[in-house]
Symmetry: C2
Subunit: 287 residues, 2 copies
């Protein structure tokens, strides 16, 4: 039986590079046949695994410059069968891809909004005249580049190679410490791992509920490495909180903390326990 | 002397509707001549006031469905001369605008990514075949609609009227309780108001620093109505925290709380104190 991994496509996205790394990990665990499924949006990637059409989903969660990826949090929260099993951290180095002979002839630059944001200073300096066009992925525009020399894209060198487009500049991200964290998600139950992601809302009638919940972890010396709020989509001011803590969900400490907040945390759910796996920028990037 | 208000354009954006409401408020305070300046992006709106090219900026902060607007937080944090003076809450009701005679002929729908997200279920149900195209604003695409009957936009009924485009369906947002909160910002010092927005990061070497900071407000019975994290853009896992509290920055309680956290909160800054002003969906929407 082949194992399948759903990821944001088309070919050449950073998410695909993360998926290739997951494929390599699964091969090392003895899987011989691994199939990749390119999805058109991040939410479709998760729905694909929820429906059972793929075994794994790889989705971006957070970039060190652009911040969190809201669609990942909003979709995962709704799909209760899904659990996070790994977090992969990929260094990001963007290139400017174009068939234009000269930077000065480029009239527009298209890419995912986070990639455009991550190269803002470089674009302001080198292409102040160019319009910036947001796309669903870093690679969606690439098929149009051969027909339009005034168009450029921001994408990975791997995407340039796959689509045979010249790289005019690299790296062009303003901050060279740029990393994206991806979650590897499937339908299996909770496993081992030194970090845990949780989601909850707070009962509106409990004043200071969020502080009390965070305190429940702090007083047990469980470090919180991240907090993110998202609207519950009911009314302005109602939030879901996504927190990451540095311990396994089944440890005695975490179980005691979770037990102590059942009265104040609504819709509490453990999204998964996992380890952080640092990747190399170009590791396993050849399909 | 005319008073000028910078806002996201082109004409017909929801931000412009909020700007028209601010103009009305200023007129009631005795300003006779008010000029509006349409900017192409949200960060340009804030830079415009920071440079002194406009007196006020109106920027979206948060939508009840889409969540926070990262570019507003990331830009405001960097511009230390700017202070928030009002928060305006505008109900949002999106329309589907198109010259297409029939929904079935629509091949693509273009709008701001938050507007597309807010109508996702409606689009999945009524236009499952249509590609979704993200734009910089809800109104940027409107000038292209007369030339392409297969193209639709999601925008306000006011934008439809300004551009003389038929509204094929309204409201199409999935949640009818959809509201956006805007901040009205200028270069004047801190003023009155029952809410305060703060930003800070935490010293990396203080474990549990965030919880201690929130505790400083909670133990003085200062309610926190919102917390948002944004990357410091240094490395993955370093955050700025934006919090809203329900008290004036100059109250004895808030001053004591701020005093008590100077050792654990880095880059602490009060962004402003202000009142929440609820607007009507169509108030003062005629320029």
């Amino acid at each position: 039986m082949a194992v399948s991994i759903a990821h944001l496509g088309p070919a050449g996205t950073y998410t695909e590079v993360a998926a290739l790394n997951l494929a390599h990990m699964l091969q090392e665990q003895g899987e011989t046949e691994i199939q990749r499924i390119a999805c058109s949006t991040i939410d479709q990637t998760l729905y694909c695994v929820d429906r059972g059409d793929a075994d794994w989903a790889i989705v971006p969660v957070e970039n060190s410059i652009g911040g969190s990826v809201p669609i990942t949090l909003d979709t995962l929260w709704q799909l209760e069968n899904l659990t996070i099993h790994h977090a992969l951290v990929l260094p990001i180095a963007h290139g400017l891809l174009s068939h234009s002979p000269d930077l000065s002839q480029i009239r527009s630059v298209a890419s995912h909004p986070q990639a455009l944001a991550q190269c803002r200073i470089w674009l302001d300096t080198h292409l102040p005249q160019a319009e910036r066009i947001p796309m669903n992925s870093t690679t969606e525009i690439l098929t149009q580049l051969p027909d339009d020399q005034e168009l450029a894209a921001i994408a990975s060198p791997r995407a340039a190679q796959l689509h045979q487009i010249p790289v005019k500049a690299h790296p062009i991200n303003d901050n060279l410490e740029n990393c994206t964290r991806f979650w590897a998600i499937n339908r299996q139950p909770l496993t081992q791992g030194s970090r845990t992601s949780l989601v909850f809302s707070t009962y509106a009638n409990v004043p200071g509920a969020l502080v009390k919940i965070l305190q429940a972890f702090a007083e047990r010396r469980i470090n919180m490495s991240r907090i993110e709020s998202r609207p519950t989509q009911k009314s302005l001011g109602d939030y879901l909180f996504f927190i990451d803590i540095e311990d396994n969900a089944n440890s005695a400490n975490v179980r005691a903390a979770l037990e102590s907040i059942t009265d104040i945390a609504e819709n509490l759910r453990v999204l998964g326990s996992y380890d952080l796996i640092p990747l190399q920028a170009n590791s396993h990037a050849d399909p």
